[in-house]
Symmetry: C2
Subunit: 182 residues, 2 copies
DNA sequence: ACCTGAACACCGTTCAAGT
DNA sequence: ACCTGAACACCGTTCAAGT
């Protein structure tokens, strides 16, 4: 008679993310997660591998969210993509630094990147410049969001204004690349 | 007869930084540092407070370096400042993420910021725009260096080229701000 | 003043055992 | 198949004691 599973990977990651939000990354513990689920810490190992696997799962969770509607104009799509990242950083400031430490090659990360590629193409950025511009944008957005999570800005207003300033700047850059291509 | 100090804060931070470089942040241990210094882990507490204090000391260490020669033209000074940060990230990729997690208000960080302020003024950026532009530059540089430390770029060549691309872009932005002010 | 040793309350993880 | 309990080799930190 196979024992019925008491926990799932999903539940474990939910609980771990919530626990990390409350007590920080340093306080995130296999034992703590097990306790909250009413299960021995060793029960988690079958579902997430080990603690490293748990952390990788959290990184996934951070990025899996809505993607911008592909029907929107490119500028708006890029804006939304940035907003999604910043929202994740504000929602899980304790966990967010993991994103920078371990580079994410999850499906969510890859399809976000493809979305930016597509937006840049629509904007008219020459094909051979697209990957570089995407790296520039995503590096900035990631760094900005991480800085925000780390409390580097004095207020959310200041962060909003700074981000809008950067968007304006990058918008101009994209237009100048587009113009040069014609 | 007061016991003579067997270790100093400097030695402790040196050893801790080296140990973290070798075994990563997770492997950095009060006991490990003590062992390397031939001293009980508890001997460290008098000099660095606690483990948090040790980590804070490492963040200091990361930033305390040479500042760009103030006699150089502003563009070159900004370039050097970026290069210094990236060099720190490449030298201590394991430790670098700490910089983003805990915002650094060390003397070194503050005088780097003042240096950038000064460079922007020399470039002709209007005074009321200086802090915002500095935040933009430092956020980008920090995020870029952290991404580099995290292995987000395929090669050092790619990173160099991307950074140069960004510098060009920011240079244009600074010039347009300067022109608008005249 | 500074270091030591023992002790406490934790960790992640293994492994054999249960159902 | 999945969970449990005991055990191992670690942690950071306290506290009284030594010099």
């Amino acid at each position: 008679m196979p024992a019925r599973a008491k926990v799932t990977r999903e539940e474990i990651l939910d609980t771990a993310l919530r626990l990390a939000d409350e007590v920080g990354l340093a306080g995130l513990t296999m034992r703590g997660v097990g306790d909250r689920l009413g299960v021995t810490p060793m029960a988690l190992y079958r579902h997430v591998g080990d603690k490293q696997g748990l952390l990788d799962g959290l990184v996934e969770r951070l990025l899996t969210g809505e993607l911008p509607d592909p029907g929107l104009p490119w500028r708006e799509r890029l804006h939304r993509q940035g907003a999604i990242l910043r929202a994740a950083a504000r929602r899980h400031p304790q966990v967010f630094p993991l994103l920078l430490a371990r580079r994410a090659a999850t499906d969510a990360a890859l399809s976000a990147r493809d979305g930016v590629y597509q937006a840049l193409r629509e904007a008219g950025v020459p094909e051979d410049q697209v990957p570089r511009v995407e790296r520039l944008l995503s590096t900035f957005a990631l760094g900005f969001a991480a800085s925000e999570a780390g409390g580097r800005f004095r207020s959310e207003q200041e962060a909003d204004a700074d981000f809008a300033f950067a968007e304006e700047l990058f918008g101009q850059m994209i237009e100048s690349l587009t113009a040069a291509a014609e």
